[in-house]
């Protein structure tokens, strides 16, 4: 049987202040986790400015891989990634034996347990490529009724803070279009940063709304309780893991960002 207290490492895909991190940690309360599971949040050392291009995706993958490399050695029982892009998950799964939970994959597959065709509700059109990538990888493009956004550039660090009145009605309207016009019978939030909209939307929509961050925490607990982890056959190990190289690369990336006056 698993140990009494399970420690789950949540990797946050941007460097940020403690106050900004608190916005991410609020997701913990939305999961209503059972006793005996602890979440600890760790940010990446460096990151793309946002996730809108192939270059950003590569930087995000490396940043998250580095942030989670030592998770097993540090005594964690599972890793969650705080981004629906599932960045870094495949590479981390090739290195770690503990479960690495991908919120995007998990959310889309869970949506198919509750309905027939889901819709993806996003903040920004420039994020659509991320969803399309995961849907293609899973081979379930035909189960996605549509993707809609409010075409607003999100703030990955401060989230909705102070802008709720501008954002929430627009998200509600876009979600309704997914249901009424596109035929979605489940709504998937297109970013873990949208968790602040979940309660508002669930109260107003006639279909289930999936909140990817909290769902990923509960899925981590379920995977551990069942004694499961990702398949080594699906995620083979490298011949030579280059953990030191990756760690060095990210330290260098953080120095470079500092020199450029960016975070």
């Amino acid at each position: 049987m698993p140990p009494e207290v399970l420690r789950v490492l949540v990797l946050v895909p941007f460097p940020m202040s403690a106050e900004q991190l608190a916005n991410r940690q609020d997701q913990r309360d939305e999961a209503h986790l059972p006793a005996g599971i602890e979440l600890e949040y760790r940010t990446t050392k460096a990151a793309p400015s946002n996730y809108v291009s192939a270059m950003d995706y590569v930087i995000a993958d490396v940043g998250l891989l580095e942030a989670g490399l030592d998770a097993e050695m540090d005594g964690y029982d599972a890793v969650c990634i705080d981004t629906v892009s599932d960045s870094g998950v495949a590479a981390l799964r090739s290195i770690l034996d503990i479960p690495v939970i991908a919120p995007g994959r998990t959310m889309f597959l869970t949506a198919l347990m509750l309905g027939r065709r889901f819709g993806v509700l996003s903040m920004w059109e420039r994020w659509f490529g991320l969803y399309e990538r995961t849907l293609r990888d899973l081979g379930i493009e035909d189960r996605c009724a549509g993707i809609r956004s409010i075409d607003t550039q999100p703030d990955s660090r401060n989230l909705f803070s102070g802008k709720e009145d501008d954002i929430l009605p627009g998200l509600h309207e876009a979600a309704l279009r997914l249901v009424e016009d596109d035929g979605a019978d489940v709504i998937c939030l297109g970013s873990t940063t949208m968790h602040q909209a979940h309660g508002y939307l669930q109260e107003r929509l006639p279909v289930p709304v999936l909140n990817p961050g909290p769902l990923s925490y509960l899925t981590a607990e379920t995977t551990l309780a069942l004694g499961l982890t990702q398949s080594r056959k699906a995620y083979p190990r490298p011949l030579v893991p280059k953990t030191e190289m990756i760690a060095e690369m990210l330290l260098a990336a953080a120095r470079s960002e500092l020199a450029e006056g960016r975070t």
């Binding site: 698993p2 059972p34 006793a35 499961l228 398949s231």
Partner: protein, 254 residues
């Protein structure tokens, strides 16, 4: 304390029900949820033809409606065929979970292509039907069986020494066909799960225990199936369903 009804698809007596209930001890479950195993009133003798599947749909529907009327917070069906689940979802607002579809979709969170371990040749038709209905055929690497007649009452029981090597051989054939995760094709195989996990190099999804954990997730997040995906009938006929099953009820309590 929340209460979950686990609908058992055969009209079993107490001793046989206990073998089903053992599944709840194979996984760490919330202490705030009680699982109660509720058998159907009557059903088919086998599970290998459209006749059998239809009878089971009706029987599970009846037992699940009873559970809804008795104030349970969720319903799980103790068969990986998910018999009766769609019909129950059309009339109940509480979550209704079928282990079959859930285990295949969950397998895809762990790997890329799953294999299904079926009981014997006559069980293949039902797995085939499920893969089509759930749109998961292209995600399934292979279906293999271990050529052993099912015993829905005694399960594997004292035949483990003879049966488990055959199950293991069938799992190896699944892996050779490209499966990177294996789904047990029946909740009745749960007694073999632990041994198979020790012997095989890929994750093995145990559908019954998974379905209980899934219920926990849905209850924790306040989620249920989509009413848009499972629309209500114009006129629900629960009395008709109850009367039909009561007229043929088998009494196995003695």
């Amino acid at each position: 304390m929340k209460r979950v009804a686990v609908v058992v698809p055969f009209a079993l007596g107490e001793a046989d029900l206990e073998r089903r209930r053992a599944q709840t001890r194979e996984v760490r479950l919330s202490t705030e949820i009680e699982y109660e195993f509720v058998p159907v009133k009557a059903g088919p003798s086998s599970f290998q033809s459209h006749h059998d599947w239809l009878l089971l749909d009706v029987a599970v529907l009846e037992a699940g409606i009873r559970a809804g009327e008795s104030g349970y917070d969720a319903v799980v069906v103790d068969t990986a065929s998910d018999s009766g689940v769609d019909a129950l979802r059309s009339v109940l607002d509480i979550p209704v979970v079928g282990p079959g579809r859930a285990s295949m979709l969950f397998a895809l969170t762990l790997g890329k292509r799953f294999g299904v371990l079926a009981q014997w040749e006559p069980a293949l038709a039902r797995v085939d039907k499920s893969l089509t209905e759930w749109g998961l055929r292209s995600h399934c690497a292979a279906v293999e069986h271990f050529d052993t007649a099912p015993d829905f009452e005694k399960l594997i029981g004292d035949k483990a020494g003879e049966v488990i090597p055959k199950m293991e051989a069938a799992c190896i054939r699944l892996i050779e066909s490209g499966a990177d995760v294996i789904c047990l094709g029946s909740t009745t195989m749960h007694e073999a799960h632990r041994v198979l996990v020790e012997r095989l190099p890929v994750p093995i999804v145990n559908p019954g225990p998974l379905s209980y954990k899934l219920v926990e997730i849905l209850l924790a997040m306040g989620l249920s199936q989509s009413r848009r995906a499972f629309p209500e009938p114009l006129v629900p006929k629960p009395e008709m369903i109850h009367t039909m099953l009561e007229s043929v009820a088998e009494d196995k309590t003695h």
